[in-house]
């Protein structure tokens, strides 16, 4: 199984209003990953760039960024599955490496959401769902996730306090992650309904409130992958890609079978990844899951098999997903604290897991030298789902 490895990772701080262009933003994560791997561009034989293109003024950014990064004349291409773009980029790179076409590939995820004006951004948000059959109703991401939250509350007894506690867990780690955009501590009082001082309490798409939603951000992430031979030559601490799972689901809500069972792509992708890695949920020592909204983390617990369907809420009630719990989840603050620069998000999750397996996350480090970590990265409202499992030597 140890045929493709991560040999370098990098990430910028996720911020509001990065003071540079997308090429400069991309370079910041690239520099860190290349220095982490200890290689130069001559060691790299292809690159994959990942983002959601609606936020860029620059058309076809792959070639433009490859030039800026010094990755010319190596081939490059662009991969997109919205919020899971860089996990899809990793999958594409895995295929290109394991098939023998390439030896070492740079996967660079980026998003400068502030690149376009706020009005332009709002216009694009309106086109995020099926533009023919759903966007005309005035849909937006929080509303879609709220459909799931509502169904969970009605059937599974999920409460607003459960959701709040997901955000409070997130903030515990956001406070200590200097790459996160939201670093303030959050307490239950911040969610107090009717209190104008309680900034997390305002309704966004009921039952979801301000505190249930992650923030836009600018950022980039970089993952360098290599085949076994190169990984052994170039890297002291290769982290292996053990399993990859990916799935899709109908974009239309009218074609979703069951809102009380979470996102189907979570189950499907997890099943594939576990099978390929030859492990089960119990073997995972640390996980990053796609918590664009608090409800998404609860659904992720179930899709990944950390809890039975409908019982995800128990994990947060028992604090089982805290760093000291039985299955630490998003102990870097997750999307809720780090922010969600769409194309860079998956790469940031991967970086955290790689660093956890290398024992290099400082105050966020999970005890016991974790040997298996998992990344769960969703695109859209479960339109795409990607689960990737990593392990160390």
């Amino acid at each position: 199984m140890k045929e493709v490895a991560v040999i370098g990772v990098g990430q910028t701080s996720f911020v509001r209003g990065y003071e540079g262009s997308i090429r400069e933003l991309a370079f910041d994560a690239f520099r860190e990953a290349m220095q982490d791997a200890g290689i130069t561009q001559k060691d790299v034989d292809a690159s994959v760039f990942c983002s959601a293109p609606e936020y860029d003024k620059q058309r076809s950014p792959a070639g433009v960024l490859a030039e800026y990064l010094g990755l010319i004349p190596q081939p490059t291409l662009y991969v997109e599955t919205v919020c899971s773009s860089s996990s899809s980029g990793l999958k594409v790179a895995y295929g290109l490496i394991k098939s023998g076409l390439h030896d070492v590939i740079v996967v660079l995820g980026f998003q400068k959401m502030s690149e376009i004006s706020s009005a332009e951004s709002q216009e694009r948000m309106g086109r995020g769902s099926d533009i023919q059959w759903e966007a005309p109703f005035g849909t937006m991401m929080p509303a879609y996730y709220a459909l799931y939250a509502q169904a969970y509350m009605a059937k599974h007894g999920l409460t607003h306090d459960d959701l709040m506690n997901v955000r409070i867990k997130s903030s515990t780690y956001g406070v200590i992650n200097d790459r996160a955009v939201y670093r303030k501590p959050i307490k239950p009082g911040d969610f107090k309904q009717g209190d104008p001082e309680a900034k997390m309490a305002g309704p966004v798409a009921w039952p979801l409130r301000v505190g249930d939603c992650c923030a836009n951000a600018d950022g980039s992430s970089c993952i360098i992958l290599a085949n076994a031979e190169k990984a052994k030559t170039l890297s002291k601490k290769p982290v292996w890609v053990l399993g990859i799972g990916a799935a899709s689901e109908a974009v239309n809500m009218a074609a979703r079978p069951d809102f009380t069972r979470g996102l189907s792509v979570g189950y499907t992708a997890a099943g594939q990844a576990y099978k390929m890695a030859g492990i089960t949920a119990k073997d995972v020592k640390v996980a990053e899951v796609h918590d664009c909204f608090t409800i998404a983390e609860i659904m992720a617990y179930e899709g990944l098999g950390f809890a039975p369907p409908g019982e995800g809420k128990q994990l947060i009630r028992e604090k089982a997903t805290y760093k000291e719990g039985k299955i630490p989840v998003n102990v870097d603050g997750g999307l809720l604290s780090k922010g969600h620069p769409i194309g860079a998000t998956g790469g940031s999750q991967i970086r955290t897991i790689v660093l956890q397996l290398r024992g290099e996350t400082g105050p966020m480090q999970v005890a016991g030298e974790p040997d298996i970590g998992l990344v769960h990265n969703i695109g859209g409202v479960g339109l795409y789902g990607n689960v990737t499992i990593f392990g160390r030597d």
């Binding site: 009005a119 709002q122 216009e123 948000m125 309106g126 086109r127 099926d130 533009i131 023919q132 059959w133 759903e134 966007a135 005309p136 109703f137 005035g138 849909t139 937006m140 929080p142 509303a143 879609y144 709220a146 459909l147 799931y148 939250a149 509502q150 169904a151 009605a154 059937k155 305002g202 309704p203 966004v204 798409a205 009921w206 039952p207 979801l208 239309n252 809500m253 009218a254 074609a255 979703r256 809102f259």
Partner: protein, 137 residues
């Protein structure tokens, strides 16, 4: 052309299913059914994903179903700023037929419940746009 009249705000003008809007103007909410293999689709489609046929007929959607889930939006994307709060939900008619739409303003927020019996009806907005919405059964 023709589809730009669908919805509170339209993002798509050209589709082979533009007749949906003409039917809506006549007060009908219809899906498509494959003439060759009989599969029913809502939203309507011009092509059958099961047997690859292009031969599609229209069928009238059931009028009554259950509200499977819903949300109330307090913010809105560009072009919908005048509308919040508005409620949107999924109606399940059984047999795999579902529909996503706004819930009529006449229903009070606190009355909307998961599992409640609902009906659907065409609606015309004051700017002439056509849509359908969820109302009391």
């Amino acid at each position: 052309m023709g589809f730009e009249k669908f919805g509170r705000k339209s993002f798509a003008a050209i589709t082979k299913t533009a007749r949906f809007v003409d039917l809506l103007a006549e007060g009908k909410i219809e899906g498509t059914v494959c003439k060759d293999c009989g599969v029913k689709f809502f939203p309507p489609r011009a092509d059958c994903a099961k047997c690859f046929s292009k031969n599609m007929d229209w069928f009238v959607m059931p009028e009554k179903g259950k509200l499977e889930t819903f949300t109330t939006a307090y913010y809105a994307p560009l072009g919908f700023e005048a509308d919040p709060p508005y409620t949107m939900g999924v109606v399940d008619f059984g047999n795999g037929l579902k529909l996503f739409a706004r819930v009529a303003k006449e229903i009070k927020l606190e009355e909307v419940k998961v599992g409640m019996d609902v009906a659907i009806r065409p609606v015309k907005y004051d700017n002439g746009q056509l849509s359908f919405e969820v109302t009391k059964a």
